[in-house]
């Protein structure tokens, strides 16, 4: 019997799994993989929580959700109370419950995890949000009286949405400007439907609109209007434009037909719904043998999308070994179950194509792990003479994103670091340009939804202070 569990006879409840679509079925459809907890399963899982006095889990949450408090409400069957508790700190729980890397955050710190499996905090958060969306009374939280101050938010990704949600409740007028034709940032163009249904993202955005946030779509700040023009119309401007610059491998043959950046592959499939071509007008190459380069969430999403688009083989070609894969544990697990084939310790050298310009293969080199590098992970070193070729007709490059220079370069007064990201105070999000704040991937480099939201939270506090007391 573990020390933490005091009640002597209490039967130990195992961590509750969410029911999900079978791998053989789901690998060919775009429906969401897990079905989510039933109320019974949720209450059972909630019972596992020890209600720690000094909860470790909360320290791992960048927006400081009152984790044990909402779990207790679920246990008691007060699902509406649970979601209200979460909303106090997190405006996008249905999203976070699905995509946060809980194993490195709240769940990674949960005391139960020392001897057993941690409480499934993410699944419970997701349950509370879904229950409210499907059965809730959709009452809006109270709003502070109007202050007459106006804030422009550039970008509708998780960081921009957080800033908008916070400031509208504090009585300010908020307008979001989004370059694409749908709001949500990576949540809508990057993360696939089977992992985060778009209906959920739209419902979260719709919630903000009901609170009074204006969303102007198809507006590219820097082109449609500049940041300085926004500053003339608004009291404060928040830049949450994301990383949004695809990085290519810079190897020969990247122009062949069938070679995509992950951004393009996923945007075509998700935002433009190319998986439903020709019902939708945007096409995508439906490869039979697809190779994805990279090992993060973006790579897993691309590999699983390829299967759903009809691939017979979907390979992940990664320079390091399985232990170094940066993706969420759940994504790696799901990818393996669905039949994604991993080629570890392999590095692409060049793409091969036919005379009509279509991709036919890739040549790679085998690697072995050497000394640890700056990131603490063992550096892959090439094994001379170990070249090998893989026959493929589609390649998706998912080795990371950089800072998109479109807005930053055309905004005088913003300080950028040498990689092109905006320099902002880590506590407040203030940039070097007066009345301009920034946060999310455009400050940190490609990171996570919850870190982008955490940055949005800090900036919204700072913006509110400025609007109330001055710079």
């Amino acid at each position: 019997m573990s020390e933490e569990v005091k009640a002597p006879k209490k039967e130990k409840i195992p961590r509750q799994q969410m029911p999900e679509q079978l791998p053989e079925v789901r690998r060919r459809n775009f429906d969401e993989v897990p079905f989510g907890y039933t109320p019974e399963l949720a209450r059972k899982e909630a019972e596992r929580c020890l209600q720690c006095k000094d909860p470790r889990c909360r320290q791992g949450c960048p927006v400081e959700v009152e984790i044990p408090a909402f779990i207790r409400l679920i246990k008691e069957g007060d699902f509406e109370g649970a979601i209200r508790k979460i909303w106090e700190k997190n405006a996008l729980p249905a999203v976070c419950g699905r995509v946060c890397p809980q194993e490195n955050q709240c769940e990674g710190l949960c005391v139960l995890g020392k001897k057993d499996q941690p409480v499934a905090i993410g699944n419970l958060e997701r349950f509370a949000a879904d229950y409210q969306r499907l059965h809730g009374r959709s009452i809006l939280p109270p709003k502070a009286p109007p202050t007459g101050k106006k804030v422009a938010v550039v970008g509708s990704g998780p960081s921009g949405l957080t800033v908008a949600g916070d400031l509208i409740l504090k009585g300010h007028e908020v307008t979001i400007f989004e370059a694409l034709h749908a709001p949500g940032g990576v949540l809508v163009y990057g993360i696939p439907e089977f992992r985060l249904p778009k209906e959920i993202v739209f419902s979260e955005c719709n919630y903000l609109e009901r609170l009074g946030v204006k969303i102007e779509l198809s507006t590219v700040i820097a082109r449609s209007e500049t940041v300085d023009e926004l500053l003339a119309r608004f009291d404060a401007v928040y830049l949450g434009v994301g990383a949004g610059l695809p990085i290519f491998l810079k190897i020969p043959g990247e122009h062949f037909i069938g070679v995509y950046s992950a951004n393009e592959y996923l945007t075509r499939s998700n935002l433009m719904k190319a998986y439903d071509f020709p019902q939708y007008d945007t096409p995508v190459v439906r490869g039979k043998k697809v190779a994805i380069f990279g090992g993060g969430n973006v790579a897993m999403d691309s590999a699983r999308t390829a299967l759903r688009l009809g691939a017979e083989h979907s390979y992940i070609i990664y320079r390091r070994s399985r232990a170094e894969l940066p993706a969420r544990a759940a994504e790696i697990h799901h990818a393996e179950e669905e039949g994604v084939e991993f080629m570890f310790l392999s590095n692409p050298l060049r793409f091969l194509g036919n005379k009509d310009g279509f991709l036919t293969g890739v040549e790679c080199l085998r690697m072995e792990l050497g000394e640890p590098d700056a990131s603490g992970r063992r550096r892959p070193v090439p094994i001379p003479g170990s070249e090998f070729q893989v026959e493929i007709d589609t390649a998706v490059i998912a080795i990371g994103a950089g800072a998109n220079p479109l807005l930053t370069r055309s905004t005088p007064g913003l300080a950028l670091n040498k990689r092109g990201y905006i320099v902002a105070d880590p506590k407040t999000g203030k940039t070097m340009k007066p009345r301009v704040w920034a946060g999310g991937d455009i400050v940190t480099g490609a990171a996570t939804v919850i870190l982008a939201m955490g940055a949005g939270r800090q900036a919204s506090n700072s913006i509110h202070d400025y609007l109330t007391f001055g710079w």
Binding site: A179, S218, S224, L406
Partner: protein
């Protein structure tokens, strides 16, 4: 919705001109820039050059050739109807500077792209010689508009039904031979035309601008679909272009990449034609 307020057909109905109500874009757009349009919820994002603007009335002009499903769908849109999204202005505007004598070469719908650029180049004080061409007389567009912004206008048709018989490249050679003082050439049209114009201007050592039309998705530098090779480097046409130094562009690679979806495009267009019949103007 971005409403169509004026609509006309040119080149025997193969090229369509729309004036749209888009006041913010009308105020901002400069020569060389483009917009991305989407007809409806299921539509593709299609880039088209801003061919003209009327900032006072808040209108922009787009001119496109019907080449596939999306442009065929655009063609069905009548005055009073419109596009769901129009995003822009996008891309770098043309760098307009006085160099003295300029030759502007436009082919097909490239003439529409050329018009604001030629006008801009003339406004800053250049002597503008314009060469426009089409396969035959019926397919030539914007003759009057181009005449109004040029000091000299030369017309070519492949079949000799109008103006000089022959390709614009032949005429370009003649102009460059006769005018040793040409400081800049701007060539816009089908890829092969631009490629051969650039080979020609290279012989005469005349700096040349071209405007590229790769396939695009977002138009903000996010996806890399529009990548082109210029001077051996990867550039994104939507943000670094669409204009580039014609002598550095890898036209063969561009030609290849433009064929990425030929099979899918055909499928989509055939289905559309089957559903809409020939030349039907009904709206779904």
């Amino acid at each position: 919705m971005f409403e169509i307020v004026e609509r006309s057909e040119m080149a025997q109905g193969t090229i369509i001109s729309n004036w749209l109500r888009a006041p913010k874009i009308a105020k901002k757009a400069l020569p060389g820039q483009f917009v991305i349009l989407r007809a409806n919820e299921k539509g593709e994002r299609i880039p088209l050059t801003v061919a003209d603007t009327d900032p006072e009335r808040g209108l922009i002009n787009i001119i496109y050739m019907v080449v596939g499903k999306s442009t065929a769908l655009f063609k069905t849109l009548q005055v009073g109807q419109g596009y769901m999204d129009v995003i822009g202005p996008l891309g770098q505007p043309t760098h307009l500077e006085k160099v003295g004598k300029v030759v502007c070469v436009g082919g097909g719908t490239g003439i529409a792209v050329m018009h604001p650029i030629a006008r801009g180049l003339r406004q800053v004080g250049n002597h503008v010689i314009t060469i426009i061409g089409a396969r035959s007389k019926d397919l030539l567009i914007l003759e009057d508009k181009m005449r109004a912004v040029s000091d000299e206008l030369l017309i070519c048709t492949d079949d000799g039904t109008y103006g000089h018989k022959g390709f614009v490249t032949d005429m370009l050679k003649k102009v460059l031979t006769e005018n040793k003082d040409v400081g800049l050439a701007v060539c816009i049209g089908p890829v092969p035309m631009m490629k051969f114009c650039c080979l020609m201007t290279k012989e005469f050592n005349v700096k040349t601008l071209v405007s590229l039309n790769p396939i695009m998705v977002d138009g903000t530098g996010m996806c890399g679909c529009c990548r082109v090779r210029v001077g051996g480097e990867m550039k994104f046409a939507c943000v670094d272009g669409p204009e580039f130094d014609g002598h550095a562009v890898d036209f063969d690679e561009l030609t290849l990449r433009l064929r990425s979806y030929l099979a899918q495009e055909k499928l989509s267009y055939d289905q559309f034609k089957a559903a809409h019949g020939h030349n039907c103007a009904c709206h779904t």
